[in-house]
Amino acid sequence: MFTLPVLSQIVLNGITLSAIYILVALGFTLIFGVMRIINFAHGEFAMLGGFALLFLYSALNLNFFVALLLATLAVGAGSLVLEKFVYRRFYQREMPGMIASLGLSIALIYGSVVLWGTHQRSIPSAFSGIYKMGPVFITAERIAVIGVCVASLLLFYVVLKYTRMGLAMRVIAQDRATAEAQGIDTTSIYRYAFFISTAMAALAGGLIGQLFSLSPFMGHMPLVKAFIVVILGGLGSIPGAAVGGLILGLGESFVSTFYGASAAQFISFGLIIVILLFRPEGLLGRKEG
């Protein structure tokens, strides 16, 4: 059972899942860290990303990577309209913000149902190759997915770590009062953070559409995964989201291969209960207050 080919296949699957989970969870945790909003509509931005990719790639026949990039940017840019008219009113107000984002989530889901119906769709596979690396078979599709994720995570890291904007976001997340006293323009920083968050969700949504399927209701899965990852790593913690995503992706892949998908879900929820009880701030989070 624990042969090298099987194990390496499990690890490979796990890394693919991890990469997608991290993409979704980073945006989720960024919005919470900077704006204090638990964004229940986060999964819907992934769903919109999937449909945008479907349109650009299948209907317009663009190159897959170009279509993916355009879909990501389009959803990110479009979400700024919602930022202006909805989210901005709720920044730093956890409870009303949570409920308004829930309302938005419902509106987006059923708006999509009106536009696209409820049936499952799939994005035609862009890649057909299978490569053999030693004992491991890997599809070109997976290489592309992992590659896109790693590239965008690196970009995210660079933006957050080495740009003034990224610095400002980290300062606001640490201590908003000081940030405002220092004259940081929070309004525009919030806008950038929001764009980054929804664009990453949309990118993940496109990849989910490529690997699995699309429907207006597909946003629930990424949202729940983001929840789990973020609890594991610590709410508002960026490195925490990365570590949490790796643990969840690899763990799920391993457990579901040997014990089935529902066992994987039970274990991930059980793990969370244990973590919340003994380390509520998450593995890498810092204590609040």
């Binding site: 638990i38 229940f40 909805v86 009113r89 709720f90 107000r93 956890e94 409870m95 009303p96 409920i99 308004a100 829930l102 309302g103 938005l104 989530s105 419902i106 509106a107 987006l108 889901i109 059923y110 708006g111 149902v113 009106v114 729940v224 929840f227 789990i228 609890i231 709410l235 529902s262 879900q265 039970f266 929820f269 059980g270 969370i272 209960i273 919340l276 009880l277 509520p280 609040e288």
Partner: protein, 328 residues
């Protein structure tokens, strides 16, 4: 400052005749409602009354400062317990109904002491996780729960209750009892303890209030109400499945309280009316009903942070000040 006004202000709530008249008018309206609005509207009315029970339970937990996203899971425990006891063992409905409440209470007493160690957003997250685990159990324990398809053709409490109008009155009695109990609980000395805990746990503890025990008790009471609703609703809809108790349903309880208002018992009642009746009344535009519902949620949150009850209070205050100005 007169003694009388102190008494009205704190020990017992003001008992203005206007309030009593309003409550009596509401009760009278609810009693004749099935005759005014037959058929489908009676069905909706029944659903609203049943929802009020669970939403009130959620409200009690909210009044000690906690948001439980596992609330629907407790409704599910009550629902499945009640239905399975009736369908597998043929127990009389009243026994199943009580068992629905008791099972939810036992679950709350088991889980509560663990999850209540957490506060604030961490309590929200752990109850969310608990709710998801319960939903998984409902889905995976196929031999007992029928898996994702759930259980259908659930018998009504007794044959006469196949008639919606009769069920409406059962729901009315249950909802009225729930509201009356919760109203007195919140107005009693126990309610004062709940207020104290919500506003400062450390001071409440120093004032001799056993904070943790009160929290566990309130959590158990709130979950019991969820379980009772679960039982009543299962035998009314006559179909249960894990979807009926998902985390979205828990969120709905939260939304009802916030839309209605979190500071008074009127909040969950108004919220339940609004949130159950609104999607149903938008049924004419089936495709758009949920979309509009979502947008209304956002608008309410943006414009009325204190919920609909606050809007009403503001209107009353404005009218009141106009009248008193007219007196001068």
């Amino acid at each position: 400052m007169s003694m009388q006004s102190i008494r009205d202000g704190a020990v017992s709530r003001p008992r203005s005749p206007v309030r009593w008249a309003l409550a009596a008018a509401l009760a009278a309206f609810l009693l004749v409602y099935p005759f005014l609005f037959r058929g489908f509207l009676t069905h909706i009315g029944t659903l609203v009354l049943l929802t009020v029970i669970g939403a009130t339970g959620f409200h009690l937990i909210l009044r000690i400062g906690l948001v439980s996203l596992g609330h629907a899971a407790f409704a599910g425990v009550g629902g499945y317990t009640s239905v399975l006891l009736m369908m597998n063992y043929g127990l009389p409905w009243i026994v199943c109904f009580i068992a629905g409440g008791v099972s939810a209470a036992l679950m709350a007493l088991l889980v509560g002491p663990v999850v209540l160690r957490l506060k604030g957003v961490y309590f929200v997250l752990i109850t969310f996780t608990f709710g998801e685990i319960v939903r998984l159990v409902f889905t995976d324990w196929q031999s007992l729960t029928g898996g994702a398809n759930g259980i259908s053709r659930i018998p009504p409490p007794w044959p006469a209750l196949l008639d919606t109008t009769n069920y409406y009155y059962l729901a009315f009695v249950a909802a009225a009892a729930t509201v009356a109990f919760s109203y007195r609980l919140l107005a009693s000395d126990f309610g004062r303890k709940m207020d104290a805990i919500r506003e400062s746990e450390s001071l409440a503890e120093a004032n001799g209030i056993p904070v943790f025990a009160v929290k566990v008790a309130v959590f158990a009471i709130g979950c019991t109400l969820a379980g009772l609703q679960g039982s009543l609703q299962a035998h009314f809809i006559r179909l249960i499945s894990p979807v009926s108790y998902s985390f979205q349903e828990s969120l709905n309880f939260l939304v009802m309280n916030v839309v209605g208002g979190t500071h008074s018992l009127a909040g969950p009642i108004v919220g339940a009316v609004f949130l159950v009746a609104l999607p149903e009344s938008l049924r004419g535009w089936v495709e758009y009903q949920f979309m509009i519902y979502g947008i209304i949620l956002i608008v309410v949150m943006a414009t009325l942070p204190g919920g609909l009850v606050e809007l009403w209070q503001n209107v009353v205050r404005r009218i009141g000040s106009k009248i008193s100005r007219g007196d001068r």
